[in-house]
């Protein structure tokens, strides 16, 4: 699964599509194509890769598919070790502050 994610995110156009969906919510292929400088078939192909990685979901709505970002799919790529290496020292400082306040 992380390999599919990596592959999907390795391409700048796909990252841009994912970011756009994350920012603007649900969009159809032609919304994503307009003004992007990328052809509709190319956008569709990128959406296919993003879908395979679980980063984007598609819902049939009449004759078109509406796409939305699925940020939860990023969970396996989150650098948790680094996050918590910063998180805990800050929390233990806050604990120190609390312990001092409990004194009063």
């Amino acid at each position: 699964m992380p390999d599919l994610l990596f592959k999907a995110l390795s391409d700048p156009t796909r990252r841009a599509i994912f970011e756009r969906l994350r920012r603007d919510g649900a969009l159809a292929v032609h919304d994503l194509t307009t003004g992007s400088g990328v052809s509709q078939p190319a956008v569709s192909k990128h959406l296919g890769v993003l879908r395979a990685a679980g980063l984007v979901s598609g819902m049939d709505q009449g004759r078109q598919v509406i796409y939305r970002a699925e940020p939860a799919a990023l969970a396996p790529l989150t650098d948790w070790m680094r996050h918590y290496s910063d998180f805990w020292p800050a929390r233990l400082d806050a604990l120190d502050d609390l312990l001092k306040r409990m004194d009063q």
Binding site: W88, R91, L95
Partner: protein
């Protein structure tokens, strides 16, 4: 293969005060996160923060060990639809009395190597998001 974060801090306070700060829900909320902790082995609870684009804000936990004044350990796992690919870790606090105060040892164990790598190439704006999270955490 998993990795562990280990931190030691000395606090110049009585043992029972530090224990209360670690095991009383409203006090835990003051230094760590809002929670529904209970000091009972087997108690399942959650830590909750504001959700962000990349995280639902919920940490699932279960008390593994709660030995008064000595040791507190709970699981620290991703929640909901993030659970399958997310964190499956254990946080352990060990208290050792010092002549003047207490030594607190924190171990956060179980980071998978593929979660500990530095994914610079694919990270996009996540560092920014982590920055926001840190700000939120500071405010809480």
């Amino acid at each position: 293969m998993t990795q562990t974060i280990e931190i030691e801090r000395d606090y110049a306070v009585p043992l029972d005060r530090l224990w209360r700060a670690l095991t009383t829900p409203h006090l835990i909320a003051e230094w760590l996160m809002p929670n529904d902790f209970q000091p009972k082995t087997g108690h399942a609870f959650q830590f909750r923060m504001e959700p962000s684009a990349w995280w639902n804000g919920v940490t699932d936990a279960e008390v593994l060990d709660c030995t008064p004044m000595t040791r507190l350990s709970y699981t620290w796992n991703s929640s909901g639809d993030e659970a399958a690919n997310g964190l499956k870790t254990v946080v352990t606090f060990t208290l050792t009395p010092l002549p003047q105060g207490v030594r607190l040892r924190l171990e956060h164990a179980g980071f998978r190597e593929d979660q500990a790598r530095n994914f610079q190439g694919a990270r996009m704006g996540w560092d920014r998001n982590l920055g926001t999270l840190a700000t939120v955490a500071e405010r809480d």
